[in-house]
Symmetry: C2
């Protein structure tokens, strides 16, 4: 990550972008500050506006700069990241066996996204599909049926705030018809309680995290800026018998989200500790 000076033989738009990037990293430009206008940069670097635009476009795709019509480019303001913790798994499990009131209130704590509830829209859609690619992960036949549930929260002006998809083998949940009706959402206590109604206790949760660039549609739905990637999280829930009972996919705009995972380690025994060094 050392500072390799951009060679003077490099394309002009890369040299311009590098110069601006260095100004930002050195603190000569702070978040919110305006850059020189494209025309001014073109004069300073003695090049056409097209080359300056290419430089600005690069910085936008790297998340360093924002632009909008009629205003000079600005150094991007990064929003605060909300932490989502894996401790929710245990909290939800603990709440699953409590009263309706407690389940309701823990659910509300979870969906607190810093927006007044009145301006929040919740949506849940149920659909029955065949396993196909999910058959491997559930270890079932590709022709078996699966309940696919999609959840989202958005503001009243249609900005997505959360989005996830959950898959449950239909055979597992059809014992309780209430679990097949999306009108029962939001279900107090969430999936952990839903599964408890058909005798399933989740003992282990595996989270798989990666990231990818945003598509144009995602940028519109979440109202994210250029250069903001998405975190993709696949959660696999496993029951007492080691059977995969739920698979859930979530996405988070990476400029607003941070995922916390806590690993408790087994203590060294005293005899081991004595032999240390």
């Amino acid at each position: 990550m050392q500072a390799i000076p951009t060679p003077t033989t490099a394309p002009i738009h890369l040299r311009i972008a590098d110069d601006i990037r260095m100004s930002i990293e050195a603190g000569r430009l702070s978040p919110g500050d305006s850059l020189p206008s494209i025309a001014q940069l073109g004069e300073r670097w003695r090049c056409s506006s097209g080359s300056v635009r290419a430089a600005i476009a690069l910085l936008k795709s790297q998340g360093l700069v924002s632009t909008s019509r009629g205003r000079a480019p600005t150094v991007r303001q990064t929003p605060h990241r909300t932490v989502r913790s894996s401790t929710r798994h245990q909290v939800e499990k603990d709440a699953a066996l409590t009263t309706l009131d407690i389940r309701k209130s823990t659910g509300e704590a979870e969906t607190n996204l810093g927006i007044p509830i009145a301006e929040l829209r919740f949506e849940a859609t149920y659909e029955i599909i065949t396993a196909v690619e999910l058959s491997e992960i559930f270890d079932i036949d590709p022709t078996e049926t699966i309940l696919k549930r999609t959840y989202s929260h958005s503001t009243t002006d249609n900005t997505l705030l959360s989005s996830s998809t959950s898959f449950l083998p239909l055979r597992l949940v059809e014992g309780n018809p209430a679990l097949l009706d999306e009108a029962n959402e939001p279900w107090p206590g969430g999936t952990m309680h839903q599964l408890s109604t058909v005798g399933v206790e989740v003992m282990q949760v595996k989270d798989y995290v990666t990231a990818r660039a945003a598509s144009t549609v995602e940028q519109q739905l979440w109202k994210t800026q250029d250069g903001v990637p998405f975190l993709c999280c696949r959660r696999i829930s496993i029951d007492r018998q080691g059977i995969v009972v739920e698979v859930s996919d979530s996405v988070y705009p990476a400029d607003r989200a941070e995922l916390e995972f806590i690993t408790e380690l087994r203590a060294w025994s005293n005899t081991e500790r004595e032999g240390m060094n």
Copy 2:
């Protein structure tokens, strides 16, 4: 994520990009396939090559398409993702109290990046800094000293394969002078064993994961393509007394890495389970 048709009033480069994206998502174009050349697309859409270039640039920044000089653009091949599991934390802790031979071999298993060892270059650099922004997380004075250690693996042709930075309060480790000499790296057994030599047992590890777009320098160092974001992982290790003993930052190109975190849940007691319904 539904298919909103791009309006015919939208800029031409967005319509072109959307059309190509739909062809890829519908499977009419498979990874590795060539797209029409920029000139051909310009004829088909009756627009200048500049607009087609803008469309292709957008698809590149979204990770869908690759280009290189002299060849038509192609649908990008996604490399396989290597899983890095949080179970390593326990494995390293268990190994810390074993023999030198076992510690060496578990270390080798960890650094197996699918590259012959002979073509792998390991680098470790030690440096002593003052805490400044890290003082809060370590709960120490900003003027206290910290051992900063940077690690990297690269191929013989200078492509980064792994990169991480570790911070240890100097006061914690200066009891063992061997811990202050980078010539002792790679240390068999890693940080867990190093800490054991000064009587520290890590009981809890917290991982914080987010992502951001790649900078130009990172793209060169890791030889990643446009549109590949980086996963950023901050690991905080906590000892028996609840004190933060290590902070470690790692980055991973998101097209090659997937992080696994396993959460074991406490069982419901039998009396609780009987009340289920």
